[in-house]
């Protein structure tokens, strides 16, 4: 509890001879305290830098208090003193530590040995809040009071404005104010009857219920059930939701407003608290407000359509560009945010905010925030595909890339129409994402687009398209694949692409694919034989993927080719397949027995 004195009781301390070492220590850790406060103001709360500073400061404090037991500081307007010696001075024209204390009436601070880290952190946090407070609502004294300090005391002066007015003056309250203060407790006639002296307190005839009789049976002590009742009341308090409690109250009042002026007044109060919730990163509460907007919109729709429209406009307002820009500013700070709560809030906004979300996607700097916004757009895309898809016309490739991903996640067949455009995007990263998106669909239209991508100038895109087509077993890809393989520069492509191409041929084509591969392998090459040999070997290897019963026939044929390397490889593969088949048969027979 703070000690309160009047200003004339805080006399300047006697200037005593303070040991230089003591003075040095105090100056040092006060300077460090100021730096600590600066890091707290600069960095987010859970950032390791201010945490480290606080720990170091605590160590310095503890060392001092271990040696000297107590630290008593006096605050002046821009200075802090220890036994009359200045140990800290605020920079000129700057609101520093000394002024923060002095302004709110704190004149003395006493730290005691045993000070805990938590106490020091709370103390610094209170000063930080007081320094940041613009409205003057947060007073350092009230902030400090809320924490129960065991090893910190402070003295607050009673300022002139705090002194109560003199007693027994003539009433300055007006008659009208006095009239207002009638209580509305209405008593029945019997209760207003003249007081009967001597009527005992505990007349059971007065009771209204058995429950009251039980309560009065023993007025001076509490039975177990009564204690349980009190505990139950206290436990209900534990579920008190603080700021959230104001939301249903405001909406109850909103419902009761008879005239438009009152309705608009309450709406503006709701806006005010929503603004505060967003500024405090209480997105859960902000989401609750939006839910209430919608709920009440429904309520008014059949009764007072103008009010329903007004509520719809209110929701629109929170999805407007300037509002979302503030959110972007928050998301771009390097601090941990409750992303699931932000998601819950954003998905409650109007679909008319989609263009703003898309715009925002290009402004966010952190991966986690972009991911969040993508999830939000994905949510909207299910029912508002066209609006979300309009983002593919954005000039920023990274926005278009994300949109392609979002569309792909919806797995809506209609997205192929939009992805047709992104497939032709100049940036290969967009095209790559488009391929991935198309591969999720497995529709005829999507597969046709994938087939087109086989001719993409980018290798990775071709590979992804090939893979996707193989997985989809798209027959229309066979001929284009064969065309690619027969390109004169096919052998220049990377091993991975060559391998993928042959494997796709085999899995899509089945027997036809086998025929293609066999024809490729037995083809005579005049130039670049070594490279072609490698391709042929890759083609042969790709045959492992085939489950066609005629595979062994083709392999037999290959074992009779002139090319010794091919013959050997074919024989090896055939033997391997035969052995595998035999093993399988033996297992099956063993299973039957």
């Amino acid at each position: 509890m703070p000690e309160t004195r009047t200003s004339w009781e805080i006399t300047s301390q006697e200037v005593s001879l303070v040991a230089p070492e003591k003075l040095r220590m105090v100056k040092e850790f006060l300077a460090f305290a100021v730096r600590t406060l600066k890091t707290m103001l600069l960095y987010p709360q859970n950032n390791p830098i201010p945490s480290e500073f606080k720990k170091n400061l605590f160590e310095k404090f503890s060392n001092y208090l271990d040696e000297y037991e107590e630290l008593k500081l006096v605050a002046e307007q821009n200075k802090i003193l220890l036994s009359g010696e200045v140990v800290h001075e605020d920079p000129p024209q700057e609101e520093g530590l000394a002024l923060a204390l002095y302004r709110d009436g704190i004149r003395e601070l006493i730290f005691k040995n045993g000070l805990k880290l938590e106490e020091l952190e709370n103390f610094l946090e209170a000063i930080k809040v007081a320094l940041q407070s613009k409205s003057g609502e947060d007073d350092l004294v009230t902030l400090l009071w809320e924490k129960d300090y065991l090893h910190l005391r402070y003295t607050v002066i009673e300022q002139a404005s705090d002194l109560p007015e003199p007693l027994l003056l003539e009433s300055t309250s007006t008659e009208e104010l006095e009239k207002i203060y009638y209580s509305e407790i209405s008593l029945g006639e019997e209760e207003l009857a003249p007081l009967q002296e001597g009527k005992p307190m505990l007349e059971l005839a007065d009771l209204v219920s058995e429950e009251i009789a039980r309560l009065l049976k023993n007025i001076t002590s509490f039975e177990r059930e009564e204690l349980a009742e009190i505990n139950s009341l206290l436990q209900i308090e534990r579920f008190y939701r603080r700021q959230a409690e104001a939301i249903p109250i405001l909406f109850e009042i909103l419902l009761q407003e008879e005239d438009s002026a009152g309705f608009n007044e309450v709406l503006s109060l709701i806006e005010k608290i929503l603004e505060e919730f967003l500024a405090d990163c209480r997105f859960d509460l902000a989401a609750e407000v939006l839910k209430q907007y919608r709920k009440n919109q429904e309520y008014f729709r059949g009764r007072l359509p103008a009010r329903a429209d007004r509520l719809a406009l209110a929701v629109e307002h929170w999805g407007e560009k300037d509002q979302l820009s503030k959110l972007a500013g928050l998301l771009n700070q390097d601090k941990e945010l409750p992303t699931d709560q932000i998601y819950q809030y954003l998905v409650l906004l109007s679909p008319n905010s989609i263009p703003q979300f898309i715009g925002l996607l290009g402004e966010l700097r952190t991966f986690s925030s972009r991911k969040l916004l993508c999830q939000v757009l994905e949510y909207f895309a299910h029912n508002h595909l066209e609006q979300v898809a309009s983002g593919i016309y954005d000039k920023r490739w990274y926005v278009v890339r994300n949109l392609a991903m979002i569309l792909g996640r919806t797995q809506d067949p209609r997205i192929a129409t939009y992805l047709k455009r992104t497939l032709k995007h100049s940036d290969f990263r967009v095209r790559k994402e488009t391929i991935l998106a198309l591969s999720r669909l497995n529709t005829a239209e999507a597969n046709l687009l994938l087939v087109e991508s086989l001719a993409d100038p980018d290798r990775k895109i071709r590979i992804n398209a090939t893979r996707a087509l193989a997985a989809a077993r798209e027959k229309k890809a066979l001929e284009p694949l064969w065309l690619q393989i027969n390109r004169p520069d096919f052998w220049e492509r990377g091993e991975d692409e060559i391998k993928e191409s042959f494997e796709a041929l085999v899995s899509i084509g089945e027997e036809e694919g086998l025929e293609y591969v066999y024809n490729y392998i037995r083809k005579f090459q005049l130039w670049h034989r070594a490279r072609y040999q490698e391709c042929k070997l890759l083609a042969l290897k790709a045959l492992e993927k085939s489950s066609n019963p005629n595979l062994s026939g083709y392999l037999e044929k290959m074992t009779k080719l002139k090319n010794k390397t091919i013959r050997t490889a074919a024989r090896r593969l055939l033997d391997h397949l035969t052995a595998k088949s035999q093993r399988k048969k033996e297992q099956t027979d063993a299973g039957k027995n």
């Binding site: 509890m1 309160t4 609502e137 947060d138 809320e146 129960d148 065991l150 705090d162 002194l163 109560p164 007015e165 007693l167 027994l168 003056l169 003539e170 009433s171 309250s173 009208e176 104010l177 006095e178 207002i180 203060y181 009638y182 209580s183 509305e184 407790i185 209405s186 008593l187 209760e191 007081l195 009527k199 307190m201 007065d206 209204v208 219920s209 009251i212 309560l215 009065l216 509490f222 204690l227 009190i230 505990n231 139950s232 009341l233 206290l234 436990q235 209900i236 603080r242 700021q243 409690e245 104001a246 249903p248 109250i249 109850e252 009042i253 419902l255 009761q256 109060l269 005010k272 505060e276």
Partner: protein, 488 residues
């Protein structure tokens, strides 16, 4: 999140060492209280005392088994067990308060009990504390020496540091002055805020918050004085005194329930401004001559919602404002949600609202602000409030309130069996039927200087010297009870 059982009681979350220690600490303090009380009545070899002492020994043993030490310390007005602060709820309030006062009285700052302590040592120790008297040295020194003489080697005491001392009479006088100042500051703050709200000026509630926190601190120190102050009725600033009185009564009731400091401050703040909405009522309603009709009351009943609007527009929605908003909105709703304003969705009335309803009604009726403008004796008010228990007031909270105020609350004018007239100035927590009174008129009707008497004190043979026969109507006799209760 703790589990809820079917019937609503909550099973606490998983136990930690600290929560176990706190629970044991509460049991210890409660047992010390019971043992001390028994020691006051019975001899050391009496079975009743021995039974309690045995219970005490068991608790001590359990603590020593689990923690290897038992170090009970009084610091900053709180009790600590092995450096862990003990927080007491409603059930432990009286024991906690009693034990702290005992430690202050005997100037004991801490009690260190070592493993190996016997029940015999504990018996002697308890008995010694209860019956020790200061001799040539201080009470603490006397006790310390006696402890050594009786061979209680496993119990070590430390003296209370000066800052923890009970105030000297001069310091008490200072405390009373500070308490009065705080109370009148509260009145002044209410007036300032209400006036600014009425004139649509900027409302600064930060000062109110400070005053409320001071109120809480002062009431924690000495609630009795504030109950005395709440009897002032004819003070010119009474329109705002009501809010301050209600805040005081709320904080006292909340304190008994075991609410912590912050919750008490929220409660006090909410109480100060529960009627802030009234300043927004239309001028023509205020200026209307004569009494209000039904339509006027209809307007009046909008003040809860007006209060909510005023509070939210004045401040950011912090914990204080939110609580004030909730209480402001609910305070004319009954437990079954009749009353006003009419609401669409069911809700459970907030605990703070329930507390305020009792305090508000009590203060309003005892101060003549009821519709008919007649004040009603406190005793009678409580009786009338019982009729509304279960609908208008939470019944168990009301019972608790009666226990705090006493059957004869502070400010009651009573007739004694000696035909003297007295004013109740303090309730006795030990016996709510026997408060402390100031005799203001003798049997012949003469008014000597008031004499203070504790009706709970016994004379020879265990009899009471005086008893209350009936309650009198102070207004009927033209007696201003407040002037006898507190000097202002």
């Amino acid at each position: 999140m703790p589990e809820k059982t079917d019937f609503g009681a909550v099973i606490p979350g998983p136990e930690t060492d600290q929560t176990r220690l706190v629970e044991l600490g509460k049991i210890l303090v409660n047992q010390l209280y019971v043992t001390f009380k028994t020691a006051q009545i019975y001899e050391q070899n009496n079975l009743a005392f021995l039974k309690q002492s045995q219970n005490l020994a068991r608790v001590v043993e359990k603590i020593l088994d689990q923690n290897q030490q038992l170090y009970l310390q009084l610091k900053n007005g709180y009790l600590f067990l092995n450096d862990t602060r003990l927080k007491f709820d409603f059930a432990g309030y009286i024991g906690n308060k009693f034990f702290i006062e005992e430690m202050q009285r005997t100037q004991i700052g801490s009690i260190y009990i070592q493993p190996g302590v016997t029940q015999r040592e504990l018996d002697k120790f308890t008995y010694l504390l209860v019956h020790a008297e200061a001799q040539s040295q201080s009470l603490f020194e006397t006790i310390e020496k006696r402890l050594s003489d009786i061979g209680a080697n496993h119990i070590v005491l430390e003296e209370l540091p000066p800052e923890e001392y009970r105030p000297t009479p001069d310091q008490e006088q200072d405390s009373r002055l500070i308490a009065k100042r705080t109370f009148f500051k509260a009145i002044s703050v209410v007036k300032e805020v209400m006036s600014n709200a009425r004139e649509q000026k900027l409302i600064n509630l930060a000062r109110a918050k400070r005053v409320v926190q001071s109120l809480v601190d002062q009431i924690l120190k000495d609630q009795k004085l504030f109950l005395e102050l709440s009897t002032i009725k004819n003070f010119d600033e009474y329109t705002f005194v009501h809010s301050a009185n209600v805040a005081v009564l709320c904080i006292i009731l909340g304190l008994r329930l075991g609410l912590d400091r912050k919750e008490l401050a929220e409660l006090g703040f909410a109480a100060l401004f529960h009627d802030i909405g009234k300043v927004k009522l239309p001028i023509d309603l205020i200026n209307k001559p004569g009494e209000f009709d039904e339509f006027d009351w209809e307007q009046m009943r909008k003040h809860p919602t007006m209060g909510v609007k005023t509070l939210i527009s004045a401040r950011s929605l912090d914990d204080f404002t939110t609580r004030a908003v909730v209480v402001c909105f609910e305070h004319h709703l009954t437990l079954d949600l009749t009353g006003y304003p009419k609401i669409r969705e069911k809700r459970i009335l907030n605990l703070h609202t329930r507390i305020l309803q009792i305090a508000d009604a009590y203060n309003a009726m005892t101060s003549g602000r009821v519709y008919m403008k007649t004040s009603i004796a406190p005793f009678e008010v409580l009786r009338k409030m019982w009729r509304l228990a279960g609908k208008g007031f939470d019944p168990v909270l009301l019972k608790l309130f009666v226990n705090i105020m006493g059957i004869y609350p502070v400010g009651s004018l009573v007739l004694l069996d000696t035909e003297e007239v007295a004013v109740v100035y303090q309730a006795n927590a030990d016996n709510i039927y026997r408060p402390k009174v100031k005799i203001i008129a003798d049997r012949s009707g003469k008014k000597p200087a008031p004499i203070s008497v504790d009706l709970n004190e016994t004379i020879g043979g265990g009899n009471f010297s005086k008893s209350i026969v009936r309650v009198l109507d102070a207004e009927k006799y033209g007696i201003e009870v407040g002037s006898y209760v507190v000097d202002y």
